[in-house]
């Protein structure tokens, strides 16, 4: 057999899937039954540990906490007419209460970040890859 390129037989070798960094939006959801103030959230040791984890990973791109759905307004345009209504877009049990955009190597890292968020313990975190 002739000479041939050796690509990927060592664990540090190149694969495009591995060197790229992924961007995910973490949608932080719950049913709004528990609604800690920003100050309470800042004082929550779980939240502090989560923020420290993001810092350590250098993962956070941007994030924001959202006011509850009573303050939400939904806009639809149908047949050229703008329809404005009170409340969230989807009538569901759980609502998006905040989001964070993170950049990390793969889904497992995003899962680990999401699992550390306090809302994961009573609500849930939806991980959505950014469509780039």
């Amino acid at each position: 057999m002739g000479s041939w390129p050796r690509y990927a037989d060592s664990p540090v070798s190149l694969s495009w899937g591995r060197i790229r960094r992924m961007k995910y939006v973490l949608l932080i959801c719950d049913d709004e039954k528990v609604s800690p103030t920003n100050e309470e959230l800042d004082a929550d040791p779980v939240h502090q540990a989560w923020a420290a984890d993001l810092e350590r990973r250098g993962a956070e791109v941007v994030g924001a906490r959202l006011r509850p759905i009573v303050d939400a307004t939904t806009v639809r345009v149908r047949d050229g007419e703008t329809l404005v209504s009170d409340g969230p877009y989807a009538e569901t049990k759980d609502f998006v209460g905040g989001f964070v955009i993170v950049e990390c190597p793969n889904l497992d890292d995003a899962i680990a970040i999401a699992a550390g968020h306090p809302y994961a313990q009573w609500g849930g975190i939806e991980i959505r890859p950014v469509w780039e």
Binding site: M1, S3, W4, P5, R6, Y7, A8, D9, P11, S13, L14, S15, W16, G17, R18, M22, Y24, P105, N106, L107, D108, A110, I111, I127, P129
Partner: protein, 410 residues
């Protein structure tokens, strides 16, 4: 008469069975592109069929196939601009011109199986992807085994591969802290494949047998790749001990219960291997649900008959199992074992408790178990009602025939 061509054909078939997963796994590692990897592997096997009759079967078919598939990847990538750019990128990092000796090529199949079984994929997609990429079954074969239309199965595979790519599911063996959870998913996928091949209700006998054999083969690979983990061995033992009884589970289309199976027809070789595999797992002293289930299966497989079965041991194993993997089905099985140890009323009391709890609503084995216990207790009228209830719920013809026979005997 066997012709040289037949021999080559057999060698290619054997290589397909033994090397497909390894070739695909390596190529995914190289390219990160699942479709390209599969196509290139397919091409490599086609090339083997074309050249082996002329040049002879290579000394190391796996290395030959991997090399051939790599060349295909290079060829295909040269043809398009993006691929050509990637190829240059690879060439920069790939300076070693020599073929690595086979011992140094790491087995990439472990990465492949963990990725196929990632919990972010829907369970049926994990099953399909494992059978396609690791075992090399065609989409048509998988569709047939799962009684699904081929386009549906094809769509499932496309979606699974797309999600791996787009959601950034890593191609790797998970780190230690994730291993218990992720290994659980791998074992669940393999066990489901086995059960699909073991369940009398589902599909043609030949397809089922092949599927169970595939599950056993993949589990053997997993055991070899993770020699220090006890649960893969536990699962392998469980599969072997079940497989040993396959021939006796139905008789002329009627279900035969464990009690009435012809134990002289159980496969002693498989039982011996199952017990030895289980012993090796237990020696690691880290228990788990598959080891417990295998231990229960071993109690049955090594007993001469129902009377001399070690029911006390079985009760204790089911108690442990209910603790680490709680499920009403486990509780029901435990109730049967309790009836053998403490008498039928004790078992019946547990079954009635389960019926009241409602977790087994609609599950035919609940009334069927109750019916058998009532019959053995001489409570014929109640047994009859319970058999009728079970008959309404039983999902397969073999089970319905069994229940009708019992009802008829009363």
């Amino acid at each position: 008469m066997t012709t040289p061509d037949d021999q080559v054909r057999a060698a290619v078939d054997a290589a397909y069975r033994d090397e497909w997963g390894q070739v695909v796994a390596t190529l995914i590692g190289v390219t990160g592109d699942w479709d390209l990897a599969e196509d290139a592997a397919q091409d490599a096997f086609a090339a083997a069929l074309a050249t082996w009759p002329r040049d002879g079967v290579p000394r190391r078919p796996g290395a030959w196939l991997t090399t051939a598939a790599r060349h295909r990847v290079t060829d295909r990538m040269r043809r398009d601009a993006v691929g050509a750019a990637k190829l240059r990128e690879m060439a920069v990092l790939a300076r070693d011109p020599d073929e690595p000796p086979i011992e140094e090529i790491p087995d990439e199949r472990l990465r492949l199986i963990f990725t196929c079984c990632h919990p972010a994929l829907p369970f049926p997609h994990r099953v399909a992807l494992t059978l396609r990429t690791l075992a090399g079954l065609t989409t048509a074969e998988i569709a047939r085994a799962f009684l699904t239309a081929e386009p549906t199965m094809a769509k499932r595979l496309v979606r699974a591969k797309r999600k791996i790519q787009e959601a950034g599911i890593p191609y790797r063996v998970p780190p230690a802290e994730l291993l218990p959870e992720r290994l659980g998913s791998v074992l669940a996928v393999l066990y489901l494949i086995f059960n699909q091949g073991y369940d009398e209700a589902r599909g043609e006998a030949e397809v089922r047998r092949a599927l169970a054999a595939e599950a056993i083969r993949l589990t053997r690979v997993l055991v070899r790749l993770m020699p220090d983990e006890p649960e893969p061995r536990g699962l392998l033992a469980l599969m072997l001990l079940h497989e040993a009884r396959r021939a006796t589970r139905t008789e002329a289309g009627v279900l035969v219960t464990l009690e009435h199976q012809d134990r002289s027809r159980w496969d002693r070789t498989l039982i011996a291997e199952g017990v030895a595999t289980l012993d090796a797992a237990l020696a690691m002293r880290r228990g788990g649900p598959y080891q417990l289930q295998a231990a229960i299966a071993a109690c049955h497989a090594t007993a001469a008959d129902v009377e001399t079965t070690d029911w006390l041991q079985i009760v204790s194993l089911y108690t442990d199992l209910a603790r680490i993997a709680p499920s009403p089905v486990v509780d029901l099985n435990r109730a049967v074992a309790v009836a053998m140890v403490d008498g039928i009323p004790a078992g019946l009391a547990l079954v009635d408790e389960l019926a009241e709890a409602g977790g087994l609503e609609g599950y035919y084995l609940l009334p069927a178990t109750r019916a058998d216990l009532l019959r053995r207790d001489g409570r014929d009228a109640e047994a009859r009602t319970a058999y009728e209830e079970a008959l309404d719920l039983a999902p397969t013809e073999a089970e319905r025939r069994y229940l009708s026979n019992r009802l008829y005997e009363l």
